[in-house]
């Protein structure tokens, strides 16, 4: 038995897991309907796929949510996991699930997939026969992913960096890399049986003044870590940044370099997709304004030529959105995509050049790290501040890079910290901003810039 298989058996031997039938699951994946595979839709659909967010504790409520989504003409269903499961606390999740079922109150902020088990969950997923995307935020997602794939969920979001730096204060980063290596391998293995399992990275990160160079580098690294384990279908992603042109340029550079580096490591046969998140930062309180913001995000996603868009609702600033609000967004986004015609195909050459140079310089610094494997190189670079994510709450993150917005609301790096932004790029970035102001004004600008969509 392989080492991986040994590890799988230990993981799946967890007391909260129903007996896992490896052969049956393999068989299920092999014969699963192609409609369930987002990789299949990416191949054959010529429209942008629309995916909302959402997860409820009970089977009944999740089922009802899906019915709403299907009525709203959804392309990809979400399955958002509760935070106990994210922390591998299946015991609490079980208790809360029972309470939710008995009292008809939601005691969990998502679907506790491990407790429901794959047999039950698979019923729901095959019933709707739409691709489902797993959204969690789990550093150790080994057990969760096994259950997800066994349930028919063939689109798996996350990664060791993007699910850690924005979401955690002190979970050990090195462990996260190892746990995700397991996930990649399991996905890669199952990918040989039918259409490939798709992996997706979480580009929005902290959704707060993250410069595109950092977003892209992290997208590329998570992609490489995945492809090198044999994954054949991968989605890189990013969220609306606040400037249409910067989004367009980011999309171009991300696509171009994803292809480039995939080929560099001999994985040119993998298919790579682009996912765009509607605004993920601080929302306006006014739901009418939030509606405009979402709608404009859809226009930009179309200009960016994204393959999939992940939606928000006009209730974002207020609290967790209802299923009605969520499905309204889906219907509205589909409508917007239908009426967006004659979109120009454009770029800004100079911006592309600068951004490409920045990304390649950081990537080179990562590759030049003396460690023996890619994940260790990346680990070292985060630790040393070569990769630095603005507003990450994680203790390992350096927080020395400072960004503000220029007059066109592009995010610009005005302090690079330890990130090896080439001098000519750094000079260009700073030249776009008014840096003659005193510190207080610059701090006020940053506060203003965080709230620009409010």
């Amino acid at each position: 038995m392989s080492l991986l298989q040994e590890e799988r058996e230990i993981i799946l031997g967890n007391q909260y897991v129903e007996a896992f039938d490896f052969a049956e699951v393999e068989d299920f994946v092999k014969n699963a309907n192609k409609e369930l595979f987002i990789s299949h839709h990416f191949k054959h659909s010529n429209k942008m796929l629309v995916q909302p967010r959402g997860g409820f504790p009970t089977y009944k409520k999740q089922f009802a949510l899906y019915e709403f989504f299907v009525n709203a003409n959804v392309d990809v269903l979400p399955l958002t996991i509760d935070s106990n499961t994210r922390l591998n606390d299946y015991k609490t999740a079980a208790r809360m699930l029972r309470l939710s079922e008995e009292n008809d109150v939601d005691m969990l902020n998502g679907y506790p997939l491990v407790n429901h088990g794959y047999r039950t969950t698979r019923n729901m997923i095959t019933h709707f026969n739409k691709p489902v995307s797993l959204r969690h935020g789990t550093p150790d997602a080994r057990l969760l992913i096994e259950q997800a794939i066994a349930s028919g969920i063939f689109d798996i979001e996350g990664g060791p960096i993007t699910y850690l730096l924005p979401y955690s204060k002190n979970f050990p980063l090195d462990k996260a890399f190892l746990y995700w290596k397991y996930v990649e391998r399991v996905c890669a293995n199952y990918s040989q049986l039918n259409e490939p399992i798709n992996r997706e990275s979480f580009g929005p990160l902290t959704a707060t003044l993250v410069p595109p160079a950092i977003t892209i580098v992290i997208q590329l690294l998570e992609m490489l870590l995945s492809l090198e384990e044999g994954v054949k279908s991968f989605s890189v992603s990013f969220a609306q940044q606040g400037s249409m042109m910067q989004d367009i340029v980011t999309g171009h550079v991300l696509k171009k370099l994803a292809r480039h580096y995939a080929e560099e490591i001999g994985c040119g046969d993998a298919s790579i997709h682009l996912v765009y998140h509607q605004w993920m930062g601080a929302f306006p309180m006014d739901p009418n304004y939030a509606e405009q913001l979402i709608s404009i995000a859809t226009v930009i996603a179309s200009m960016v030529r994204a393959d999939k868009i992940i939606t928000k609702t006009n209730q974002e600033a207020a609290g967790i959105p209802t299923k009605e609000a969520n499905s309204e967004t889906v219907a509205n986004t589909q409508y917007s995509l239908r009426i967006l015609n004659g979109l120009p195909d454009i770029t800004d050459e100079q911006e592309e050049e600068i951004l490409t140079a920045e990304v390649m310089a950081i990537m080179e610094a990562v590759f030049n790290d003396p460690a023996d494997t890619l994940w260790r190189k990346v680990f070292n670079c985060i630790k040393s501040g070569i990769i630095d994510v603005p507003f990450s709450p994680h203790i390992i993150n350096h927080n020395q890079m400072i960004t503000i917005r220029d007059d066109n609301k592009n995010i610009r790096i005005i302090k690079r910290g330890k990130v090896p932004i080439p001098d000519h790029c750094f000079d260009y970035e700073k030249a776009q901003c008014d840096l003659s102001k005193d510190t207080t004004s610059i701090v006020n600008d940053i506060i203003h810039d965080i709230g620009i969509m409010q």
């Binding site: 935070s83 924005p166 979401y167 955690s168 204060k169 002190n170 902290t206 707060t208 601080a282 207020a318 609290g319 967790i320 507003f391 990450s392 709450p393 510190t439 207080t440 701090v443 940053i446 506060i447 965080i450």
Partner: protein, 136 residues
């Protein structure tokens, strides 16, 4: 004056916390920032260690209410916190809620200043006024 600040509970929304750090410093306070994901004991320990005048707590994900109830009991276990100014702000309830319900509740937990969905600068102006008033 010395301020201990941070975000309470399992809340990792760090943006407001960073801005609070910057703004307090800009206003001349000496700041001890415990960051996100900070528990009540950690706050009080830090106040004692630094001999802080002010404890400024943030909560963004609505969980503060659960912690609020324990404030009085816990504070009583520490000594010399009588003159500590206690302030809380951010999003002080899950989902939508009205300030007129929320403020008295948090005052009863022992907070002197309660800023539900109040902009940071307004909140820090309130703090300055409060300090002036108290020392007058």
């Amino acid at each position: 004056m010395k301020v201990v600040t941070g975000v309470i509970g399992n809340d990792i929304h760090v943006v407001a916390n960073r801005l609070i750090d910057l703004s307090l410093k800009a206003r001349g306070y000496e700041v001890f920032n415990l960051g996100v994901n900070t528990y009540l004991e950690e706050f009080f320990d830090a106040v004692i260690e630094t001999d802080a005048d002010i404890l400024l707590i943030s909560s963004l994900n609505g969980e503060a209410e659960g912690w609020g109830r324990e404030v009085k009991a816990l504070k009583a276990e520490y000594k010399g916190l009588d003159k500590l100014i206690m302030m809380i702000g951010g999003n002080l309830t899950v989902g939508a809620g009205k300030a007129e319900d929320i403020i008295p509740k948090y005052k009863s937990y022992g907070f002197d200043l309660v800023c539900h969905q109040i902009d940071l600068n307004t909140g820090l102006d309130m703090l300055a006024d409060y300090i002036k008033e108290k020392s007058a």
